[in-house]
Point group: C2
Chain length 250, copies 2
């Protein structure tokens, strides 16, 4: 018996809900979630991002928004980024962004559910959910409780990342949730002095993995020190990337 | 009331138990755990590595060992790497290394406890425990159940990683477990064509964070495509690094 899907907050709606996962930490899930949201926002869509990585939240920092948020009788209001993307994360409920959240699995899953039921998202065209690493409580709760249209999978070139990303793909297949595309991040770097492009983490397997699981390959993103700098500054919305142009409708 | 420490397996002993954590995924925890183990092994110590990242296990791949392991009446025997390091991981109990483990928190914590009580480590000088990302069930269970001497913290240069690593440091302080040192990984790269050293992810904050928390700074490890290659090949024991020479006794 599959658990019931949760109803979204009474004052909200979301036409599409897309989760971004990898299984492996540090491949760039949060950055890709943010770049996706920026790409859709630039086309004029109403967009929200839900940070489901409760013990390692990063979205507020990437968008340069800070809490703490006050609750209202209608629910918690997300913060808006400089281009109007709605952001919700556990870090927005904390006094200090580097305070640890030391909770066990069942509570983590429950809090993510509350981000769906108790946050006043208003009317969104797209909600992007940034999943934590692993295939434990939170990915499981999100797959069971939220009406997902599908997943975007993020990998990086290392064999280790590829192996663990395959676990995440297999989990999505077991849960019967479609995979909308796969992106390979950190697939090379350009020397700022001589312009040579070289591989940091080996040849990469994004295309090969996409083919073997019959997933759309959405392209590669190199390591770009300029992106890293904008992330550190909370200005990811200023990064120009044509990565998702084929993927974004309209 | 603090939970009891678990007793190690009847046929085993471990003089020192050191956990490696970061809070943030992808900063190189598993690689640093492995390099630490290799450094101690080279000095002649009996060394084991316990992969506590149940949903994202990577140690078997880094050491080039494959399961599945058979159980015996005395317990599960870890596999030995080419230089004699004992390796235990959930991936050694699976038929296929890319099968997902879809378990909720309490079970994850329990399995890690069993790696301590049911694995026949024999007599170790050092056991290194590679923690998963986050500050949830598994780090909590390891801190409560294993007699840790302390932590090694791994960070990478990005502000985001620094923020989340601080959460892990604060968790260790709340749990009253000493931090033995901090390592900054991926702190720059050398162009293979022109030899220029440049920063991929910004200036890095490892030293600054170490000072502010009064932790020993153990040094920096650049992004080295050669290390990545050896990791992919399961030959991390062949990587020569002087990173830990001051840290390893004897
Ligand atoms: N292609 C890239 N180029 C430069 N920096 C990147 C790139 N992708 C990610 N980063 C940096 O790496 C850090 C980690 O990425 P993140 O998105 O947090 O990964 P994850 O969510 O998978 O743990 C971010 O702070 C970001 O600055
Ligand atoms: N300094 C480095 N140089 C090159 N590759 C590295 C370095 N550190 C880590 N890697 C690569 O990055 C991958 C991810 O690192 P890993 O140790 O798995 O991180 P974590 O355990 O924190 O998720 C590894 O497969 C390894 O090949
Ligand atoms: Zn160069």
């Amino acid at each position: 018996h599959a658990p019931e899907k949760l109803a979204i907050n009474n004052f909200s709606s979301a036409k599409n809900v897309i989760a971004v996962m990898s299984g492996k930490g540090g491949v760039g899930k949060s950055s890709v979630t943010s770049l996706l949201a920026c790409g859709f926002r630039r086309k004029g869509y109403e967009v929200g991002v839900l940070d489901a990585d409760i013990t390692g939240p990063s979205l507020p920092k990437l968008f340069g928004v800070k809490g703490p948020i006050e609750g209202t009788p209608f629910g918690m209001h997300p913060l808006e980024s400089s281009t109007g993307i709605k952001v919700m994360s556990i870090n927005l409920l904390m006094e200090q962004e580097d305070e640890p959240v030391i909770w066990r699995g069942p509570l983590l899953g429950k809090v993510v559910g509350q981000f769906w039921t108790d946050v006043v998202w208003t009317d969104l065209d797209y909600l992007f959910v940034d999943l934590p690493p692993g295939t434990g409580d939170v990915p499981l709760s999100v797959m069971q409780s939220l009406p997902l249209n599908g997943f975007i999978v993020v990998t990086s070139p290392q064999e280790l990342a590829t192996m663990i990303v395959k676990k995440a793909i297999k989990m999505a297949q077991i849960m019967n949730i479609p995979i909308l595309g796969l992106i390979e991040n950190m697939s090379g770097v350009i020397c700022p002095k001589c312009g040579e492009e070289f591989k940091l983490f080996g040849p990469g397997h994004g295309e090969e993995v996409s083919k073997s699981f019959n997933i759309k390959f959405l392209g590669k993103l190199p390591v770009d020190p300029n992106l890293s700098k904008l992330c550190d500054q909370g200005k990811i919305e200023e990064y120009e990337s044509s990565l998702f142009t084929d993927f974004i409708p309209g």
